[in-house]
Point group: none
Chain length 129, copies 4
Amino acid sequence: MTIQIVIQSGQAASIHRQIVDQVRLAAALGRLPAGEQMPSVRGLAEQLVVNPNTVARAYLELTREGVLVSQPGRGLFVAEARQVYTQAERKRRVEPLAQSLVREAVALGLTAQQIHELIDQQFRQVEKK
Amino acid sequence: MTIQIVIQSGQAASIHRQIVDQVRLAAALGRLPAGEQMPSVRGLAEQLVVNPNTVARAYLELTREGVLVSQPGRGLFVAEARQVYTQAERKRRVEPLAQSLVREAVALGLTAQQIHELIDQQFRQVEKK
Amino acid sequence: MTIQIVIQSGQAASIHRQIVDQVRLAAALGRLPAGEQMPSVRGLAEQLVVNPNTVARAYLELTREGVLVSQPGRGLFVAEARQVYTQAERKRRVEPLAQSLVREAVALGLTAQQIHELIDQQFRQVEKK
Amino acid sequence: MTIQIVIQSGQAASIHRQIVDQVRLAAALGRLPAGEQMPSVRGLAEQLVVNPNTVARAYLELTREGVLVSQPGRGLFVAEARQVYTQAERKRRVEPLAQSLVREAVALGLTAQQIHELIDQQFRQVEKK
DNA sequence: GTGGTCTAGACCACG
DNA sequence: GTGGTCTAGACCACC
């Protein structure tokens, strides 16, 4: 099984963000099994019709985060799923996103109820894909 | 009652973003009552040790969004609270934030339950401050 | 199809106002189709013989209003047409303009009839251009 | 009969604009009969709780436009109602206002119908006051 | 004193 | 190459 990365051009998120997110998510959901070889930088760049630098940067970030591991001379592979971050660190990473969301929501006059629904909706979307 | 704006320099959000967000939130929560005069552009700039242009741009955006109103020659004042955006637009603005949060959370192995708790926690924090 | 922006220097409206208005109008009339790439900030600035910052501010406002969307590193594009403001808000934005017009007209001794004709004439002009 | 000028502080229009508009309108509607003496600059400034300079500037503009006439040493008086401007000039003055209104309306997605209704509504408001 | 606009030049992230 | 942000300094209208 391999991964189908989709770049949405009408998106606010930068391309390399989109790549990183999709790979990370696929790995976390087990859709990219550990040991799987990733497509080469050039190959993926061609496939996505994207600048190779962009793919390289995404791969670099994923490697730094421990999602991918480099086997020098052979390529990049999906790392063993493991808890890289401590509980505290994970919270530290998610909290600012939660804060942005809540503050924006409150400023726009949304209720806590509506936000929870939005979250559930996003969860369903992530899992069904 | 007035507002205490705090700029955190080690922050991802730009300075003018931080100003806009804090004012918008305070207005939405009723902590900045309608009719209240805002600190002057130059005054706030001095207080925050920031270029007056930066404050002016933040105020301009808040005026465009209908949070503040300008009284020529007198200053800027908090506008009457009102719904500016359609339901669809508000959802549109919050959705990408919800998506980022959920994707990041899933990638880090958090459960939906944990996210909902985080959201509630942020809500409490926003309201208590 | 692209847009021809014209800055009239002997105008009451500021430069960045003129840019914003022309783009917004063209988008609303479908003359700037969704997905179309806008001229670059620097390019348009050169063409209009204007400071790039001025163009950037106009584009920023159009982005905030949802007329344009930014694709990081690639440029700015025309967004899908959509209703951003509530019915009440739209009225709120137009009302002061209608009031100015009517008061000025009455002060000059024009009749309601004449104003309605003027309005129709302007509508025709906007649509034909 | 005299005029009751009201300054609305929650207004976008500058104070001197508000004074000019109200006097001009009252004169055009015959509510300020020709020959009527205007309150003194200082008197009106005190009454409106406004800077005398502001009132003076408004009176100056009204005098330039021919709405008021100065009788040196005695004060300012309402001028005879008369057509000051040619047909062409009046059109030239009203047209840009009509254009702003129509362009803004179109950009916001309002119909010609809705604009005409707004105009009528404003006419009724001006006349009933 | 107030805000609003414009110019100029710099630095950054993204591709 | 693209936009986004910040600083600096100027000029204007309004009060």
